[in-house]
């Protein structure tokens, strides 16, 4: 690491752009970008990267954006980029890396995540989906839930129970699941917003070749931790964000455009939230600076907690500020969005969708436990489920 300079990267971007056929399928350009090592520069050579410092990615992105080059629409393939890819890189075989990473990054193959279950939410390690060895395959039966992108995904990262007789964290194995298998059934899960961004996924006799196992049998919990950790690390890789980014933007715009809605009480609340938003931006910037300096601290683990609270308070204020208009809602139709878009819709949608921010990806309560135990070093609550075999736990 570190031998690649910003100048090297710029040279590679220039060569890539020189060869770009603007009339061709954008996927062709994206494949060429991957092969040039400019997909994710911190990845290894040959797998879309240059073994370069992560910070150089911002240089690549800025140059390509300036040239108007197509991107891989990262929001549409966030689970692949943020969770599947780093896990495959860390635990995959050479064959798995060569097969999966390129189409994952170009977006030609969408990924989803089959982790949560109806009976295993915050207590993910208690999951009950079974995988049973059958020759060179595993046969999987169970039910997963809250699966974004399942209806567009080609592949899934899946954790399933392969041993019932050991404590719950030790009997889990991590797989790559083919979403086109006939045993996979995806059903939309309609949300309080009216739309169905998530799915339920029923797995019945799904066959997964052992060659699609990630990591050792029984080591799936450790592999999954890598997936979940990477979700947080990714936050530090981005660029600085401008003032009034995020949910403060639409509320401030409404305040500016609609003077007749202003009241003294709403004004003070808006200013409090403006300050909180600005401080959240500075806090994220400080985390980014720590990552760039190679001295990451625990501060990043708090960003999601702050953001969830802010989004909920801001969107709640926005609906209230709108008065009579706040009584109305854009559209309850059950649509199937390809990605979450807070800003293409009305305040009521933002208010309802933001309720998920303190639930998805670790509830705020679980995150507070994590901060208290791992950052502050406070002891865990007494538990009776750590050492007992999974099959003996009350369910």
């Amino acid at each position: 690491m570190g031998s690649v300079s910003a100048a090297d990267v710029r040279g590679r971007v220039r060569a890539l752009l020189a060869a770009w056929d603007q009339k061709a399928d954008p996927a062709e350009f994206l494949r060429a970008r991957f092969d040039a090592g400019l997909a994710w520069v911190h990845f290894p050579v040959g797998l879309g990267g240059l073994d370069a410092p992560r910070a150089l990615q911002a240089v690549v992105n800025a140059e390509l954006d300036a040239a108007g080059a197509p991107d891989n629409d990262p929001r549409r393939i966030g689970i692949g980029l943020g969770m599947a890819a780093p896990t495959i890189l860390a635990y995959g075989t050479d064959e798995q890396k060569a097969r999966f990473l390129r189409p994952l990054w170009t977006g030609e193959e969408v990924w989803c995540q089959l982790f949560s279950e109806p009976g295993a939410g915050s207590d993910l390690a208690g999951l009950g989906t079974r995988a049973v060895r059958d020759g060179d395959d595993w046969v999987v039966d169970g039910q997963k839930v809250w699966t974004s992108s399942a209806h567009t995904a080609r592949w899934a990262i899946l954790i399933a129970r392969t041993d019932l007789d050991v404590p719950k964290h030790r009997g889990i194995t991590y797989f790559v699941c083919d979403m086109t298998d006939p045993g996979v059934e995806v059903r939309p899960l309609r949300q309080i917003t009216g739309e169905a961004e998530f799915n339920e996924v029923f797995l019945t006799g799904v066959r997964i070749p052992d060659a699609h196992r990630l990591g050792a049998v029984g080591d799936g919990w450790r592999v999954a931790q890598a997936t979940l950790m990477n979700e947080r690390v990714a936050i530090g890789g981005g660029a600085s964000v401008p003032r009034e980014s995020g949910m403060i933007g639409p509320v401030a715009a409404t305040w500016r455009e609609r003077p007749e809605l202003r009241t003294p009480e709403l004004h003070d609340r808006l200013l409090r939230l403006w300050v909180d938003s600005e401080v959240a931006r500075l806090t994220a910037e400080r985390v980014r600076q720590q990552m760039a300096a190679g001295t990451p601290g625990p501060e990043g683990s708090g960003l999601k907690l702050s953001l969830a609270r802010l989004n909920q308070q801001l969107s709640g204020l926005e609906v209230e500020l709108l008065g009579e208009q706040g009584l109305r809602y854009g559209d309850w139709a059950m649509v199937r969005p390809r990605s979450v878009d807070f800003y293409g819709r009305d305040a009521g949608y933002r208010y309802l969708r933001a309720k998920g921010n303190s639930i998805e990806g670790g509830t705020s309560e679980i995150l507070r436990n994590i901060v208290a135990e791992r950052v502050l070093g406070l002891p865990a609550e007494p538990r009776n489920d750590k050492d007992a075999a999974w099959k003996d736990l009350p369910r």
């Binding site: 003077p259 709403l266 909180d276 959240a280 600076q289």
Partner: protein
């Protein structure tokens, strides 16, 4: 919405070294027993400690340029000192002398030999000064009108609730003279000073009465107004770092205590109800650090951009003030009965935090100051 570049929000190696040096002195000479033992005496400030910090470590001259005998450091380094002094509720006049009075003097004519000499003595720790404004004065308040100067530089009037004046030999006094606003240098022994009972035991106040005291004009007119404003803005920005230091101590000490205290056969820090409160407080302190570092960084790099400096300071004060108060209140509550006692030092932090909330502008005052600059005007 414009977004100027965000300054470096991390701590440099030099700042880490400075912190370690200040912390070592405070650990050695400013234990809680010593502070508690001093606060009700006739000498609430610790002159011996201040001498070591001001003169030996050179903290009094941090903000003074080298050519005037100071360290030529910036608000960043001064902010690190404020964090440590806040974390120890140290009874020393750093904020009043090395920040408020010194910054006001730096806004005056430093080519004037007498002014340069005064700054040199302050920087060397040979003298201590205070800025004669109520501690509650905020940037943007306008020039005070409670003291008047005659054509001969004789000052008459009163200033109440002045911080760090009890420890000062020199006062920097805003007064209205025949030509309008002026900043005057007055020897403290020319002024009648009373010591009211202060909420904050470690930063006692003084009420000053000027009865024809001899003053030397330091700056007049717009220069005086600008010098006072710069001092209050710098003071408010650096106060956020003191508040951060207070909050961090309250968090650390409460975590430490709850990791030891046992009830119901368990360490009480294992109860989720308490862990969640501490996790939230940690998050508040993490955020406060970003806000305070930003204010210090903007004051260090872009004092020439008054709009941006005012904004960064207002954001820091509006955010960090309530965090410090909340941290101290949580510390009292989560310590249980011991937190209500005089012998436990947590009350010193609560009193400092609550006084700091009013000092140099309340959070509400700073929020209001933001409204128009960020384009969110009040209801008509």
């Amino acid at each position: 919405m414009t977004s100027p570049a965000i300054p470096d929000l991390l701590y440099s190696d030099v700042e880490d070294d400075l912190r370690a040096a200040v912390r070592a002195v405070l650990a050695d000479r400013c234990g809680h027993a010593a502070v508690l033992g001093r606060i009700e005496t006739a000498e609430p400030y610790d002159p011996a400690l201040w001498r070591v910090l001001a003169a030996e470590l050179g903290l009094a001259g941090l903000l003074v340029p080298e050519e005037l005998g100071g360290q030529g450091a910036s608000a960043r380094e001064a902010a690190v000192v404020c964090e440590e002094l806040g974390g120890a509720v140290a009874p020393v006049p750093f904020l009043g002398s090395a920040v408020l009075a010194t910054t006001a003097l730096l806004g005056c004519d430093t080519a004037d030999p007498a002014t340069a000499a005064l700054l040199g003595r302050l920087a060397a720790g040979e003298a201590t000064a205070a800025l004669a404004v109520p501690l509650s004065a905020a940037p943007g308040d306008g020039f005070p009108a409670t003291v008047h100067a005659d054509g001969g530089g004789r000052l008459t009037g009163t200033v109440t609730s002045v911080a760090d004046a009890l420890a000062a030999e020199v006062l920097v006094v805003p007064a209205l003279g025949p030509e309008g606003p002026g900043l005057y240098e007055v020897a403290a022994d020319q002024v009648a000073s009373e010591r009211p009972v202060s909420l904050d035991l470690t930063r006692p106040l003084a009420d000053l009465r000027f009865d024809g005291a001899a003053g030397r004009l330091l700056a007049g007119g717009d220069a005086a107004v600008a010098a006072l404003e710069r001092a209050l803005l710098t003071g408010a920005g650096l106060l956020a770092s003191e508040q951060l230091g207070l909050a961090q101590w309250c968090l650390d000490e409460t975590v430490r205590y709850l990791g030891q205290r046992r009830q119901f056969g368990r360490v009480v820090g294992s109860f989720q109800a308490l862990k969640h409160r501490l996790a939230d407080l940690w998050l508040d302190v993490v955020s406060a650090r970003a806000a305070a570092r930003n204010a210090a960084g903007v004051l260090a790099d872009r004092l020439s951009d008054p709009a941006e400096a005012s904004l960064a300071v207002a954001v820091a004060q509006a955010y960090v003030s309530p965090v410090a108060v909340h941290a101290a209140e949580e510390a009292v509550q989560l310590h249980g009965g011991i937190g209500m006692t005089w012998e436990h030092p947590v009350h010193l932090y609560l009193k400092r935090a609550k006084a700091d909330e009013i000092a140099l502008g309340t959070p509400g005052r700073h929020r209001r100051a933001l409204a128009v600059p960020v384009g969110l005007p009040p209801a008509a």
